[in-house]
């Protein structure tokens, strides 16, 4: 019964990865003879390294902020203040591209916040397309904090209540309960959800394309630009960036799976 799913994934993902790798090492050129070479990886290696660093930084910062906001919302929901979680739920069906458009209207030089504070272009910081990628990080954090809040609130609802009551009966205070009961119990689902958030923001294209700046580029933007370039010779480079991004994602997920296995609460 698992066959339809497994066959479909193997075909699509397997074929995609194989062709990406073959393209990246020059064995599947659009025109000309196939010839093994690592030029795809080395041609723009300084740019590639800059992009790796940039993408990792954006992903780390967005994930950390999303965890902070998401866990706070989830904790509030379990103490009876459910409005935050309800509002967060409504951001789930918002496509990331639409989220990016909305953040643009909010944070741009002539955006809603600049108008609200009556700050004209000289004094309003460059949040969209600026040095610090604030608008891009804000979009990821906005969408993913809602996702993390929902996942963690689910775990809290099903597991924590009983333990929490027992801890109260045993005389634990609020801080002690948070530190010794709640946080250890939600840690696995926080880890799982933040891994998904991290890999998403590492490999996402449209948000950084719309709200970022031209240089340096995150991995996805760099790869897609090279891929769509009229110069067909950049195809191996585009594929190389894609392979590197995929490898980074797999490595991060691998590490977090090992961490999850070690925690005994998670099954």
């Amino acid at each position: 019964m698992v066959l339809p799913a497994v066959v479909a994934v193997t075909l699509v993902v397997g074929a995609a990865l194989t062709t990406a790798i073959l393209q990246s090492i020059g064995l599947m050129p659009l025109v000309g003879q196939p010839a093994l070479s690592l030029d795809g990886y080395t041609a723009a290696s300084t740019d590639l390294l800059t992009s790796i660093r940039l993408s990792l930084t954006i992903a780390v910062v967005s994930t950390a902020l999303a965890v902070l906001v998401g866990v706070t919302v989830a904790l509030m929901a379990t103490s009876g203040r459910r409005l935050g979680l309800a509002v967060a739920t409504f951001t789930v069906p918002v496509p990331h591209l639409i989220g990016a458009a909305a953040i643009g209207l909010l944070l741009a030089d002539s955006g809603f916040l600049a108008r609200l504070f009556r700050l004209d272009e000289g004094r309003w910081p460059a949040l969209v397309g600026g040095r610090w990628w604030i608008a891009v990080i804000a979009e990821y954090t906005w969408k993913e904090s809602a996702f993390i809040a929902i996942v963690v609130a689910g775990t809290l609802a099903s597991r924590v209540a009983h333990f929490d009551e027992t801890a109260i009966l045993l005389g634990a205070g609020r801080i002690a309960r948070l530190r010794l009961v709640t946080l250890p119990l939600i840690a696995p689902s926080v880890l799982a959800a933040s891994t998904i958030t991290f890999t998403y923001s590492l490999g996402s294209y449209e948000v950084a394309q719309l709200l970022g700046r031209a240089y340096p580029e995150p991995l996805a933007v760099m790869s897609v630009r090279l891929f769509r370039s009229i110069d067909l010779a950049t195809r191996p480079e585009a594929a190389a960036v894609a392979v590197v991004t995929a490898a980074l994602s797999v490595a991060v997920v691998g590490v977090s799976m090992i961490a999850l296995r070690r925690s005994s609460v998670w099954r």
Binding site: A5, M76, I98, L105, G203
Partner: protein, 261 residues
Amino acid sequence: MIRQARAARLVRGLLIAWFVLPVIPVVLWAFANRWPFPDRLPAQFGFDGVRTALRSDAAHALVVSTGLGLAVALLATPAGILAARALTTGKVFAPRLVQAVIFAPLVLPAFAVALGLDVLVLRLHISSTLAVVAILAVAALPYTTSVMRLAFGAYDVGYDEEARTLGASRWVVAVRVQLPLLAPAISGAAFLAFLVGWSDYVVTLLVGGGRLISLPIIVASFASGTGNHSVVALLSIVAVLPPLILLAVVARFRGRRGAQS
């Protein structure tokens, strides 16, 4: 204590503002004909954005996006149900490997998969629409499978046994007992799969080959130009309302079912 309560209220207010704030300029811009810079509110409300949207391919894009969402849901939901069922009953060869394979699309960046397949789609002359649907259905499988796994995990086999004891055939049990009991989870899984098709941008862009114009594609093309704020805002609302309504329907459905059982 009072200070603590006040701080907690402040944090709560900030968090709600955090989720609501980006929506405000979208709603204002959607119906703003004129909104010169330092003004806090539009100078003139109106339907210029609506008119521009109607002149563009938005209506067609709405149909395309709906079609993509439905096609992805139709493919990924049954496959997810079957996979989840097999994984919960434990009759699977190498369950860990199977699980890793099914969850792989969640880990791999969509642009990398799209980029790899694009060449293959061109060489093998596969229809680009078909390829987009296939990639997105595969991308939706982790969601449908994990929702259905949770549902099967919580499912009480006692109902099946009872029905079988009373003489129901396997088929009758599946249709009259399992399906109604699992309907809320199935609708939730289908909703998530629909969202994958509905929200996608990068796969449609790279593999669709410019022929598949979905709502996100149109919004992106307007958003990368200048002076299109009101039509971007309006189309954003158009792109968010249908799934929001679906979400409300699914949530009500799940709530009602939950109350019954």
